[in-house]
């Protein structure tokens, strides 16, 4: 399958419609709107509903008295135990969804093959394996903190809604490998951003073990993002180094890491990616220290 669209039939624009298009515009002069105003009228209704409405939901409470006590201790040290649990749920949902995306990408790769500079099947499998590992890591972390990894937290629900279009693209038999990678790129961008936030929240809450695991995951995600960017760029006949894409933050950037364990830039290449294949083998073996 070709990676780029071909020139041919496309009936959606008005230019190709000729006289029919001109008549469309002429009709608006003869038949004006039935009521005055503008699009701001919609905003007013949205505000009214928002003021009267409810939020997206709540996180479940800790399962045991011990867990409640842990959460209380975390709160006294400046942590946000509820937010942390919500965001752990978010990442877990996203990693599960991400794994399914890569499974679909694998089918796409097997169906259509790759392109010059595109991923090999092993490349896709490698990332997929790391997504599985990340999900396991998060499941353990939620349990260790007294949470229920099967609960759909508000942030998890939000993340799934935000990325609802991604599986539609990946599972559509009509999309090719490059189009699928463009959807994957959106997922990886979000993943990178959100793992960073999760690491900061874990640090604020004083969970050093979890923080370290997040940093390792961030390393993997930086690697995924760099690769996917390069594949998309190659598919479009350009180089990923030609200013393509937003700048990737260092894993240790941000105030939460000012006195962090990881030294900024250590073990990373010029693009902020973990150097020397560390990311490729970084399956987490550490457990959260409680």
């Amino acid at each position: 399958m070709r990676q780029s669209a071909q020139q041919g039939t496309n009936r959606t624009g008005i230019v190709g419609a000729g006289q029919l298009g001109e008549e469309m515009v002429a009709a608006t002069r003869e038949f004006p709107p039935s009521s005055p105003g503008d699009a701001r009228a919609i905003g007013e209704v949205r505000m009214a509903y928002a003021q009267a409405g409810e939020g997206l939901g709540e996180t479940p409470p800790p399962g045991s008295l011990m867990d409640k006590a842990k959460a209380a201790v975390t709160a006294t040290t400046g942590g946000q135990p509820t937010l942390l649990m919500d965001k752990l749920g978010e990442r877990l949902a996203f990693e599960h969804a991400g794994a399914r995306l890569y499974e679909a990408l694998l089918s796409k790769h097997r169906a259509y093959g790759s392109f010059e500079g595109g991923p090999s099947g092993e490349d896709v499998l490698h990332i997929l394996t790391e997504e599985y590992d990340h999900a396991q890591l998060l499941e353990r972390a939620i349990k260790n903190l007294g949470g229920d990894p099967t609960a759909l937290t508000p942030a998890a629900n939000l993340a799934v809604t935000i990325s609802a279009g991604l599986p539609q693209v990946l599972s559509d038999p009509r999309t090719n490998l490059l189009q699928s990678l463009e959807a994957i790129l959106v997922a990886e961008l979000a993943d990178n951003e959100c793992w960073t936030a999760l690491a900061q929240l874990a640090r604020q809450a004083g969970h050093d073990g979890l923080t370290q695991q997040c940093l390792e995951a961030i390393g993997h995600e930086r690697d995924h993002l760099g690769k996917v960017r390069a594949w998309v760029a190659a598919g479009q006949g350009r180089s990923a180094g030609e200013g393509g894409g937003a700048e990737m933050p260092e894993a240790g950037e941000g105030p939460a890491y000012a006195a962090g364990e990881e030294k900024r830039g250590e073990g990373r290449d010029a693009g902020g990616r973990p150097a020397g294949g560390k990311s490729g083998k970084g399956r987490s073996t550490r457990r959260e220290r409680q």
């Binding site: 004006p32 949205r46 539609q168």
Partner: protein, 401 residues
């Protein structure tokens, strides 16, 4: 292609088979196919949906025919699946909604133009102006919610301007009932028209009731609620024009004939050869259904099917733009309303209708809100600099603060 409803045998029921792979085919292409391919798919889904709906109602009232109904209905189920699954996944519910309204405009206009009964032609023109307004309201919603131009779907065949404003389409239920055709004297085309439009409107209603809650935006949810209510009125209107004196089997036979007529109309106009092959296949299936039901009808009622069915089908439905017909109807009949089964000027509306409408609109009309001052422009209203300026004017900032 000439069809003989009384003699063509079509495909016998026992040879009407499917596989799951066949049922789920490659959909039409949203960017490349003609808008009327989408229109045909949406209408034929409605036609098959009506076949199932009628078949179940009939079975619930007529024990002796349940076996025959079950056999035909199972085939119609799979026909509907194959047709409805031609809608592509990259066509979201609001885009499909635009397709539904284009069906309601262009197919109703085609029917109104050809309807031999002047009263019923008026009924269709009356409904047409209301559905025409829905296209405008949903287009405003698409523009203002998603920043998309509905004309990418409409493909310049149907004007996107106000019709009879939806806010004043709300009428008391008794003012939505019309006079039925007389089954003994009505032209066969009249019966086929009525079944076609009733089926299309019923499916439109059911679709809006299904997808309305998919939207997060409260105005979108309200717009679907409001227009779904009008579609319920339209179903009330269109089912009331069908003679309730027809026997169950007569109705069943007419349903099957209506399906033949509609698939044949699709065959005659379809430009996509892959989709056309589906229409041809199902035309043959429906001819098989007509034969099956005609035999049951003749054995049960002791009447010749020719008493109900014409030998030759009338002219097929014309799948083309009816722009001038619609505009002329707008110019002449915009201010019409209904009192009972009669059409009157809005000033003569019943107190019951006014009270009903005032109550529903007492906290505002969603379709007025969504299209406040809306003028469709190629590429969305955001291509108009004045619109962009208004959107960030101090008025909205003050409200937000």
């Amino acid at each position: 292609m000439a069809i003989n409803l009384l003699r063509d045998t079509g495909v016998p029921l026992e040879q009407q088979r499917f596989t799951w792979r066949e049922l789920v085919q490659t959909p039409y292409n949203k960017l490349m196919d003609d808008a009327f391919t989408r229109v045909r798919v949406i209408l034929m889904n409605g036609i098959e949906s009506e076949a199932l709906r009628f078949g179940h109602a009939c079975a619930r009232m007529n024990g002796p025919w349940q076996a025959a109904l079950a056999q035909v209905r199972r085939i119609e189920q799979h026909q509907q699946t194959m047709v409805n699954w031609l809608n592509p996944a990259d066509q979201d519910p609001l885009e499909t909604t635009i397709g539904f309204e284009q069906v309601a405009i262009e197919v109703t206009a085609a029917v109104a133009e050809k309807e031999p009964d002047p009263y019923l032609a008026q009924v269709y023109r009356f409904g047409l102006l209301e559905d025409f307004d829905h296209l405008y309201r949903y287009s405003a919603l698409m523009d203002r919610l998603q920043g998309k131009d509905a004309n990418a779907l409409v493909q310049s065949y149907s004007d996107i301007v106000p019709g009879r404003p939806t806010a004043i389409e709300h009428r008391h239920p008794l003012d939505d009932l019309r006079k039925p055709y007389d089954r003994r004297r009505a032209d066969p085309l009249t019966k086929l028209h009525a079944l076609t439009i009733m089926a299309g409107e019923h499916q439109t209603h059911d679709y809006y009731m299904t997808v309305g809650p998919f939207f997060a935006d409260p105005v979108a949810r309200q717009v679907y609620a409001e227009i779904a209510s009008i579609e319920e009125q339209h179903v009330t209107q269109y089912e009331s024009i069908i003679d309730p004196g027809e026997t169950w089997l007569e109705k069943w036979l007419l349903h099957e004939a209506g399906e033949v007529y509609n698939y044949w109309s699709c065959v005659e106009s379809e430009g996509n050869p892959r989709i056309r092959a589906i229409w041809e296949r199902f035309l043959d299936y429906e001819l098989g259904h007509v034969r099956f039901v005609a035999r049951l009808f003749e054995e049960t009622e002791g009447r010749d099917a020719a008493e109900v069915l014409p030998e030759r089908l009338p002219e097929p439905i014309r799948y083309q733009s009816h722009r001038e017909f619609v505009r002329e109807t707008l110019r002449r009949e915009l201010t019409l309303s209904a009192v009972g089964a009669e059409f009157v000027d809005r000033e003569q509306e019943t107190e019951a209708t006014r009270a009903y409408r005032d109550q529903l609109n007492s906290e505002g009309s969603p379709t007025e809100i969504v299209a406040a001052g809306y003028v469709w422009r190629p590429g969305t209203e955001l291509t108009d600099p004045a619109t962009r300026v208004r959107s960030v004017s101090p008025k909205s900032e003050r409200r937000a603060a």
